[in-house]
């Protein structure tokens, strides 16, 4: 394999592994910017993966599967929002409940639905962009599927939305100073609901990408900690969409690297390589410690009468 080929191949793997992380991390970022901690990303991704696999398996309609995954994620997001915003449940406990419930329900559902042995799902076909796809190395950016391009759109859209629109201002205000936002006439509850539901929908897309693009089947707990890595990425990226996506790229690259090393058959046990993304995330967080300031009201329920 020539070095150009290797680089192209590696970059392509990086991108594929980054996409689900980035969708989930941007979703988590929206939730946390509005003041709602969301350790349920993992469960939300899993929900999306299962929903998309179930629909794709029974209808063979890829786009319908993606839409349903998005809705299923949003629905779980709504549950998290209901628990955290309306009932003031401890946000960690609620996120944990989302994770455990999603893991249990999808495993059970998979046993019922896919009990026929191996299940091959229809793939999400790639959509090469003419001319640009033939660029050396960078061409891989233009040979991807629609979800990838959607992510490329989401990046500037979420940055613009967060920092240059009324809605973004309200969202950040609700996460930093809910009292002030409330006094200014912004509905804290409504903004938090919308952000958390949006987060669920984006995690649903992340799950659909895992199930339909990465492996084309559903496996129990196939999210395998991706939600937690996404959480690390958004802290490392300091709650900003661009830097968060770059952090996701770093973790995606680590995973791509370990897969490449495995493929080369070097004499390194795969378990040590498989640890790499988690170790990288841990070191990234430890190195950053003290420099990242979370939204001031993160994790705190807001109760009007306590003003």
């Amino acid at each position: 394999m020539s070095s150009i080929d290797f680089l192209t191949d590696f970059l392509s793997a990086c991108l594929r592994l980054t996409v689900p992380l980035a969708f989930a991390a941007i979703g988590g970022l929206l939730s946390e910017r509005s003041g709602v901690l969301n350790i349920g990303l993992e469960g939300l991704i899993l929900t999306g993966a299962f929903a998309s696999a179930a629909v794709a398996f029974s209808t063979q309609q890829v786009w319908l599967a993606i839409a349903i995954a998005c809705c299923a994620g949003a629905l779980m997001g709504w549950i998290h929002a209901y628990l955290c915003v309306s009932l003031n449940v401890n946000q960690l406990v609620s996120g944990l409940a989302i994770n455990l419930t999603a893991a249990g329900l999808t495993t059970y559902g998979a046993r019922l639905l896919f009990n026929t042995g191996t299940v091959a799902l229809p793939p999400l076909s790639s959509l090469p962009i003419p001319v640009l796809q033939h660029l050396p190395i960078l061409g891989v950016f233009f040979q991807q599927d629609l979800l990838f391009y959607l992510l490329l759109l989401l990046l500037p859209a979420s940055t613009y939305g967060l920092f240059h629109t009324q809605w973004g201002l309200s969202l950040r205000a609700v996460g930093n100073a809910p009292k002030a936002a409330d006094t200014a006439g912004v509905s804290v509850a409504r903004i938090r609901y919308v952000s958390v539901i949006l987060c669920g929908a984006l995690c649903g897309l992340a799950g659909a990408y895992l199930a339909l693009v990465h492996v084309q089947f559903f496996a129990e707990n196939m999210s395998a900690g991706k939600g937690f890595i996404a959480l690390a990425a958004l802290i490392f990226g300091r709650w900003h969409p661009v830097t968060t996506t770059l952090a996701c790229l770093l973790f995606g690259a680590t995973e791509a690297l370990q897969l490449r090393i495995q493929a080369f058959g070097l004499n390194i046990p795969y378990q040590l390589l498989a640890m790499l993304p988690y170790i990288t995330a841990l070191f990234a967080l430890a190195g950053l410690a003290g420099k990242a300031t979370p939204p001031a009201a993160l994790g705190l329920p807001y109760a009007k009468e306590k003003r």
Binding site: V93, T101, T107, Y108, I235, P269, A274, Y278, L285, G290
Partner: protein, 353 residues
């Protein structure tokens, strides 16, 4: 103390006991609906589950076997919870504890049991505590939230054990990845003949009693609770909050580590990869459900152990997939969270405006 006041105390105590029960009942009801979805009879399934787990000799022994690691790990999570710390890393600490006990169990072959077994348990405790202390250190010295670090450490521990039993610790001629047997002098003895039920359950009950006492009468227990209830006030009262947090997370990891020890020394007698089927995550559910009460944890762990032990028979006789119990456990946490929140809303009535 007026009679009305006594009644109020009694009432709130009743409510505290009642709401977890309601949560469990709600989870079992949703579980029943899920069974209907699969075309199975919930009554047949639940009766098979509970009859197997409680009334048969081998089933009951299996329930005890499954209760043991759940109890030990839950005590760990609970200690951290009392200090306001969320230890989501019990799973990883179980793996490290198993490793620590295995190493001590393999290291000596001619020690008397009264020395070797405690030493092996101590090894598991130490490894679990060290693994927990990493998250504790990152929290105290670097301000990193323990939730995410403990979660990430789970994956690292699991891969580490997998590497060790596939490589350096793999038994000679082993057909699948597992280690050599520990020396018999490090075995936790079997307590019910011809079954796998082992003395780890007594360790769990003893530690639960010890913790109940510690929280009720010692200054240490008071410190932990003070840090958990109000760290700022605790600091003004002269309590070193950071030191308490570090201590508690290490202790939490150590107790979860003992769950791994009991699996290795009592049940498997060697180290397997993926030997914990998610006990560390159940432990969180159990600790929450028990409201931070180390005595109640015994009952709650037993209930979860029962679900796990009866599930296989339920699958065979009522053809409901085992994974239904994971759904029920997840739903239990969900409903417990809701019941806690509703209760708080009842207890703190809104001011008249």
């Amino acid at each position: 103390m007026t009679i009305a006041y006594r009644q109020a105390v009694l009432k709130s105590g009743l409510r505290a006991a009642l709401s977890p029960l309601i949560a469990v009942a709600a989870a079992l009801t949703v579980g029943a609906l899920l069974m209907l979805l699969a075309g199975a009879s919930p009554i047949a399934a639940y009766s098979a589950l509970f009859r197997q787990a409680l009334t048969t000799y081998f089933g009951f022994a299996d329930t005890l076997t499954k209760t043991t690691p759940l109890l030990l790990a839950s005590l760990g999570v609970l200690v951290a919870l009392r200090a306001g710390q969320f230890n989501l890393g019990a799973e990883g600490q179980i793996y490290m504890g198993g490793l620590g006990s295995l190493l001590v169990g393999l290291a000596f072959s001619d020690l008397p049991m009264v020395i070797h077994l405690p030493l092996a348990l101590l090894g598991g405790f130490a490894f679990g505590a060290a693994w927990g202390a990493i998250a504790g250190y990152l929290k105290v010295a670097r301000g990193l939230n323990e939730v995410l670090t403990t979660l990430l450490l789970n994956y690292i521990a699991q891969y580490l054990i997998s590497y060790l039993v596939n490589g350096p610790l793999k038994a000679a001629n082993a057909p699948s990845p597992f280690s050599e047997l520990v020396a018999p002098s490090a075995y936790l003895p079997t307590i019910l003949g011809k079954t796998q039920a082992h003395a780890g359950i007594f360790l769990g009950i003893a530690l639960s009693t010890l913790l109940t006492l510690a929280f009720a009468i010692t200054a240490w227990g008071y410190r932990v609770d003070a840090v958990g209830q109000n760290p700022v006030a605790a600091r003004y009262a002269g309590i070193s909050v950071n030191r308490t947090i570090l201590q508690v997370i290490a202790l939490s990891g150590g107790l979860a580590g003992l769950a791994g020890s009991s699996e290795v020394l009592g049940l498997k007698r060697r180290l397997f990869e993926n030997f914990s089927p998610g006990y560390g995550f159940d432990a969180l559910a159990i600790a929450l459900l028990s409201r931070g009460n180390p005595a109640v944890v015994i009952l709650t762990s037993f209930f979860f152990g029962m679900l796990r032990s009866g599930a296989n028979v339920m699958q065979r006789s009522a053809s409901v997939p085992v994974s239904i119990i994971y759904a029920i456990q997840g739903l239990t946490v969900l409903f417990v969270a809701i019941s806690l929140a509703l209760e708080q809303q009842v207890q703190s009535p809104k001011p008249d405006s």
